[in-house]
Every structure is written in structure tokens, then in C-alpha cells.
């Protein structure tokens, strides 16, 4: 079953100010938690990533109130590094802070605030934004859910920022949300790929190589029908190269070889309008 996927709306918080001394463009000020349906005590428990995510999603959910079965697919590229550091700094260990040291904490808070009991997945790592977006679209395309929200929350701890900036990266914090639906609504846009056929072409586009590729991820931005996806993808592109570099070490040649094979298939699929990865 393959259905069209529509974009009902999106929300985004990105910094406008110049980079700080660590070279990071940071979200400024404090997240606006007024109107978030959590108790004051719950709001005090929120870590920075979750607070920013809730702040960003509020207008989107005010415009499109979520139903409990909404799929909530999150991307936390850096996982919960800040929460880990916050917990480790406490003596004696604070059990409440420990509860936030898992990457799905942000999705949990959004679910708790808005009563979302539907499918929920949290991806981490350089691909996380792509993974969240494609999974959300796919759940709708194949009829699993009627609506899905894909979210990306990226705050950047100092210890990550330093090597990132040192390698010429431009780390930027960001929170983005995209609300997808099986049905069109006022102002909605069709999100499926230019060649039709549900989300498969969309996915293929995501996996396509371009000269802007710098890491292990993806970077192809198809203007028009996928411009919305740039909110998620844009934050991922610089993340990919720098986060992987120290880890990959000297094995880049082998990686390049495997990647080239994979992308050769992908490019061929795109040229011939085939679905990527399809046998």
C-alpha cells in the first residue's frame, strides 16, 4: 500500500546570531515553555534538548492539534551527551537527571505533554534526521498511521563543538519539526517524490550523492517538493563529516569503496526512476 504524503506544516528554531567562542551558532535565550501542557514540576525536569524541542513544536501543534495515535519519530544526532554530563556532575548522583540520559527522553516528554501513544522511534547518529523523516513519511505512505511528526533536536555541547569547528565545520544548533499527513489540508504540500509512487523516490533522493557530500550521510536537496526537508537535512550535513572523522580513523578507503558501490546503484536507480534498494 502506497499513499501520498502531505506536509501539513513545519516549525523550526535556528540561531541567527554569530558563532560563540566555541564556534557554534547557538539557540539563544530560553525556550518558551508557556502553554506547553506539562506541570511546573515537569517543566523543571526538562533538559535543554527537550525544552527546545517542546518550545518549537508548540505552534505546530496549536495549529494542528495532535491525536493520540500520531506517530512521533525523533532524531537526536548527538544523543544525550548533555544530559549525561549533567548527571555525571551531580554528587550524590541525581536519579531524576539519570532518567534523562537516554536519547528517547525528548520523544517521551513530547508524548507526555500531548498524550501521544502512537508509534515512536528515536534515531541517533549522523543520519538521524534523514532516518526520522523517511520513517515518518513511510509510515503514512504504507497506511500504518494517518499522521506523523518528524522532529530533529540538535544542541551542541562544547566538547563536540571544538573538534567540529577545528576541522572547518560550522556547527549550528537547531530544532525542526515537520508534520506529515495522508490527507491534504489547508496550505499543505505534496511531499512524495517527483516521480510519484509514494515515498520511495523521496527516499532515493535522500540517499543520492552530490558534490556537497562531506561525510557518511546525504545531502541532496531537491528544491521544490523537498525544500521543506532542508530544515532537517541542513542540520545533518555538517554533522556527518566531523562526527565520523575521529571514529573512522584510517579505514576511509574501505568505506569509500563500499559507499561508491552503494551510490552507484542509487544513482542508476535515480536515472531510471527505480526505487532504491528494491531488489
Amino acid at each position: 500500500m502506497t499513499r501520498p504524503v502531505y506536509i501539513l506544516g513545519s516549525a523550526r528554531l535556528r540561531p541567527q546570531d554569530a558563532p560563540d567562542p566555541d564556534g557554534v551558532q547557538r539557540l539563544q535565550g530560553l525556550p518558551d515553555l508557556n502553554g506547553i501542557p506539562l506541570t511546573p514540576r515537569q517543566k523543571r525536569q526538562l533538559g535543554p534538548v527537550s525544552a527546545w524541542a517542546l518550545s518549537a513544536v508548540k505552534p505546530l501543534f496549536q495549529a494542528h492539534p495532535p491525536s493520540p495515535d500520531l506517530a512521533l519519530i525523533m532524531a537526536l544526532p548527538l544523543g544525550c551527551l548533555e544530559a549525561n554530563a549533567a548527571f555525571e556532575a551531580t554528587i550524590p548522583p541525581n536519579p531524576r537527571l539519570f532518567q534523562s540520559t537516554v536519547a528517547n527522553t525528548t520523544a517521551a516528554w513530547v508524548a507526555i505533554a500531548y498524550g501521544l501513544t502512537g508509534p515512536s522511534i528515536t534515531f541517533t547518529g549522523p543520519h538521524a534526521g534523514q532516518d526520522a523523516l523517511t520513517e515518518a513519511a513511510q509510515l503514512i505512505a504504507e497506511g500504518r498511521v494517518e499522521r506523523a511528526v518528524a522532529g530533529l533536536a540538535l544542541t551542541i555541547p562544547k566538547e563536540v563543538a571544538a573538534p567540529w569547528s577545528a576541522q572547518g565545520g560550522r556547527p549550528m544548533e537547531e530544532v525542526s519539526w515537520v508534520l506529515l499527513s495522508a490527507k491534504a489540508g489547508p496550505g499543505s504540500r505534496l511531499a512524495t517524490g517527483a516521480r510519484g509512487g509514494g515515498s520511495q523516490p523521496l527516499l532515493a533522493h535522500y540517499s543520492a550523492p552530490t558534490d556537497r557530500w562531506t561525510g557518511c550521510g546525504f545531502s541532496r536537496l531537491v528544491p521544490e517538493e523537498e525544500a521543506w526537508a532542508a530544515t532537517l537535512i541542513g542540520a545533518m550535513r555538517p554533522t556527518s563529516s566531523v562526527l565520523m572523522a575521529p571514529f573512522i580513523g584510517g579505514r576511509s578507503d574501505r568505506k569509500s569503496s563500499a559507499r561508491s558501490r552503494c551510490w552507484a546503484h542509487c544513482r542508476s536507480d535515480l536515472q531510471h526512476g527505480r526505487s532504491h534498494w528494491r531488489r
Binding site: 525536569q45 493520540p68 512521533l72 537526536l76 548527538l78 544523543g79 544525550c80 551527551l81 549525561n84 555525571e88 548522583p93 541525581n94 536519579p95 539519570f98 532518567q99 540520559t101 537516554v102 536519547a103 528517547n104 527522553t105 520523544a107 517521551a108 516528554w109 508524548a111 507526555i112 498524550g115 501521544l116 501513544t117 502512537g118 508509534p119 515512536s120 522511534i121 528515536t122 534515531f123 541517533t124 547518529g125 549522523p126 543520519h127 532516518d131 513511510q138 504504507e142 563536540v160 527516499l203 540517499s207 557518511c216 562526527l243 565520523m244 571514529f247 580513523g249 579505514r251 574501505r254 568505506k255 563500499a258 558501490r261 552503494c262 546503484h265 526505487s275 534498494w277 528494491r278 531488489r279
Partner: protein, 381 residues
């Protein structure tokens, strides 16, 4: 999941030992791998599931010292790939890697494990990392099956891994959910969990592809579901509503009813709230069948391996389906709340007719997952 997905190879490393033979022996005999933990300072020799012999080990390709967690991951995947047989470059190019872990390869950045595996083994397919606490690799398994069903990959390597870590140990200790002695899943006197470490890997393929290349599927993934109880970060819903819904969805996607299930591999970490909530969920979802279906938790054997638990328990259940036996609930003496369920206490039990198993998991954040595995029918596909 209408397209049958086969599990064609598995591997594991845990406190019971390295390899599937070690796990099978422990499950059949009910021999626990729990003991004093010396690998991390925070444990101070307390009870847990430590994998011995990891200190000072290096990767096998001149990587230099690898994090403890990646050593575990590499070992489990190595066993699964070895069991898979000769490598096929064409299949490798379309092999996806989906990894689940709670804290990953600390202190490395999260989300790098899938790439680590893909690079090491030359896999060219999609890579995903799931970070969902104790359901991480369970969700990875559901995602892996979806990748096959959607045609996104010809083969999927699913893995879960977790190493003992000072931060995690201190956190659970601060929460007061650690048992002083061996854990007692489903027991009236249960007092908490024992942390463990390990990794498990499963190779997924379409059933027809597996049989076409002459492989014998070990088990079939029939259906899975994921949800959130949207209630509390760390306390499960005592009514088990979300987990119950997830079980019902998993059974529905499998085309099965509660009475079709022959065995339940439960999450049951031996915490007061967690085990009660899981029992409530099973009662709600399965009704009378919950009381008569054999059920066990292997946490008394392996400890709670957090992000690895999903994959490790799926591997254990695959083994049970393949070999026809029921893993036991080690540590159980007096069933909780006066339940007269078949908890398979202390030692494994032969079950040659075992056909279908339900697996359940719960995590911080209220995230829950259920999965149905089936022994391949002799006339498959």
C-alpha cells in the same frame, strides 16, 4: 509485515559466555552468568553480568584499543556473519545495518556503531541507529524486518550492544532499583535488577531469498509494534495499557490470536513496578491465555543488558524455537501476587511443539515494543 522475514544467523556474547553454544547451555540448564562486577569502579564488586576477559583486548584489524562496547558488538556480529556462510559481495552491497543501544560506545559519540559495522564489513545498504534505552535493539529488530519488507535492503544485520558503564551503574543505583543479590523476575520478593552487558546480532533476509540460497531459516519474524505510554519518564503505566496495545498490534500484524502463542519471553527485569506492569499488560492483551502460556524472563541468567536486551532476548527465543525448548526464569521462587502462571522456574524445559513466541520490552520514556517470532514450518515458505 506481510512479507515473511527470516532470521538466518545469530550471534551473542554475554556474561554466560561467548557464542550461541554458551547461551544454549545456560538457558537449558538455568545457569546464571551473574557474579561480582569488577570491570567498572562504580560496581564495587556488586552483583551483575560482566563479560570476562575484555580488558586490554583490541579490535581484530589493527584498530587499537576499542571501547568495551564495540568489542562486544564486533564479537556478536562476527559470530552471526560466520554462521551466515560465504560472503556475497552483491548481497553485501545491499546489506543494511541497524543497531540499537542505550548508551552506545561511550565515550565515543552516539550513533556511530552502525557505521562502524558497515565499514568493517563492507556493507553498502542503509544504516540506522536506534537510541531508545531498553527497547533500543528490539526496535532495531522491528526496523530491520521493515527494511526487508519494504525492499530497502536485501539483507539486514541487526545488532544490540551495551557495556557496563560507571555512569549507568551510578544512575540505576541512585534510583534504588538495583538488587543486592541475584535478581528474581516475577518473584514476590523481587527487589530490583542486575545490570549486565553484552551484544547480540541477527541476520534478516526475505524467506524466499534465504531458502533460494540454500539457507535454513532459524525463525520467522511475523509482526512487531512500537508505542509509548506517554505517562512518565521512568515509571511504567501500572495498567500496562500501551504495552497491551502493542502486543495486540503485534499479534494482529502476525495474523494471530492470543491462543496461538506458545511461549512469552518477557522483559521482566525484576523491579517491583516493571514486572507488575508487564503482568497487567499481558493480562489485558491476552486474557485467559496469559495464565496458561509458558512465560519466562532470562534476566536472571544474563542480567539486564539495556540496549542489548532486545537483540539478546530475540536471539535466545530464536534458539528456543529452533531447538524446541523453553528458557527458564532463574531466580524465581515464589511467584508474585499469587499468580499461578507457568513461569518456567529455574531450569529450561523441553518443548518440541513450540511454534510461536511473543516477546515484550519496556523502557525509560514509556516506550514499549512487542514482537512475534515463529519457528519455520517444515514446508516453508
Amino acid at each position: 509485515m506481510s512479507t515473511p522475514v527470516a532470521i538466518t544467523a545469530v550471534g551473542q556474547i554475554s556474561c554466560v559466555g561467548v557464542g550461541m553454544a554458551a547461551l544454549e547451555a545456560a538457558l537449558r540448564q538455568g545457569s546464571s552468568g551473574l557474579g561480582p562486577v569488577n570491570a567498572i569502579a562504580a560496581a564495587k564488586g556488586a552483583m551483575g553480568g560482566e563479560v570476562p576477559g575484555l580488558e586490554g583486548r583490541e579490535g581484530d584489524e589493527g584498530d587499537g584499543p576499542l571501547p568495551r562496547a564495540l568489542l562486544l558488538l564486533d564479537q556478536a556480529v562476527h559470530e552471526a556473519l560466520t554462521a551466515l556462510g560465504p560472503r556475497d559481495p552483491e548481497a553485501d552491497a545491499h546489506t543494511a545495518v541497524i543497531v540499537g543501544t542505550a548508551q552506545g560506545a561511550l565515550p565515543q559519540l552516539p550513533g556511530t556503531a552502525a557505521h562502524h559495522l558497515a565499514q568493517r564489513h563492507g556493507f553498502g545498504g542503509p544504516r540506522r541507529t536506534i537510541g531508545m534505552a531498553c527497547v533500543s535493539s528490539a526496535v532495531a529488530l522491528v526496523q530491520g524486518a521493515e527494511h526487508i519488507r519494504r525492499g530497502w535492503a536485501r539483507r539486514v544485520v541487526v545488532a544490540g550492544f551495551e557495556a557496563l558503564h560507571n555512569m549507568v551503574w551510578r544512575g540505576f543505583d541512585a534510583m534504588g532499583v538495583m538488587a543486592e543479590g541475584p535478581c528474581r523476575p516475577f518473584d514476590a520478593r523481587r527487589r530490583g535488577l542486575n545490570l549486565g552487558e553484552g551484544a547480540a546480532a541477527l541476520i534478516l533476509e526475505p524467506v524466499d531469498v534465504a531458502i533460494g540460497r540454500g539457507a535454513t531459516p532459524l525463525a520467522i519474524i511475523r509482526g512487531g509494534a512500537i508505542a509509548c505510554d506517554a505517562r512518565h519518564l521512568a515509571a511504567p503505566d501500572p495498567n500496562g495499557a500501551a504495552l497491551a496495545t502493542t502486543i495486540t498490534q503485534a499479534l494482529g500484524r502476525s495474523g494471530l490470536t492470543p491462543t496461538d502463542v506458545n511461549y512469552i519471553n518477557a522483559h521482566a527485569t525484576a523491579t517491583l513496578r516493571g514486572d507488575s506492569a508487564e503482568i497487567a499488560a499481558l493480562q489485558r492483551a491476552l486474557g485467559a491465555a496469559a495464565e496458561t502460556t509458558p512465560i519466562s524472563s532470562i534476566k536472571g541468567i544474563t542480567g539486564h543488558t539495556l540496549g542489548a536486551a532486545g537483540a539478546l532476548e530475540a536471539v535466545a527465543t530464536t534458539l528456543a524455537l529452533q531447538k524446541g525448548f523453553l528458557p527458564p526464569t532463574v531466580g524465581l521462587q515464589t511467584p508474585m501476587e499469587g499468580l499461578s502462571w507457568d513461569f518456567i522456574p529455574q531450569a529450561g524445559r523441553a518443548a518440541p511443539q513450540l511454534r510461536r513466541a511473543l516477546l515484550t520490552w519496556s523502557a525509560f520514556g514509556g516506550h514499549v515494543c512487542a514482537l512475534v517470532l515463529e519457528r519455520p514450518h517444515p514446508e516453508a515458505p
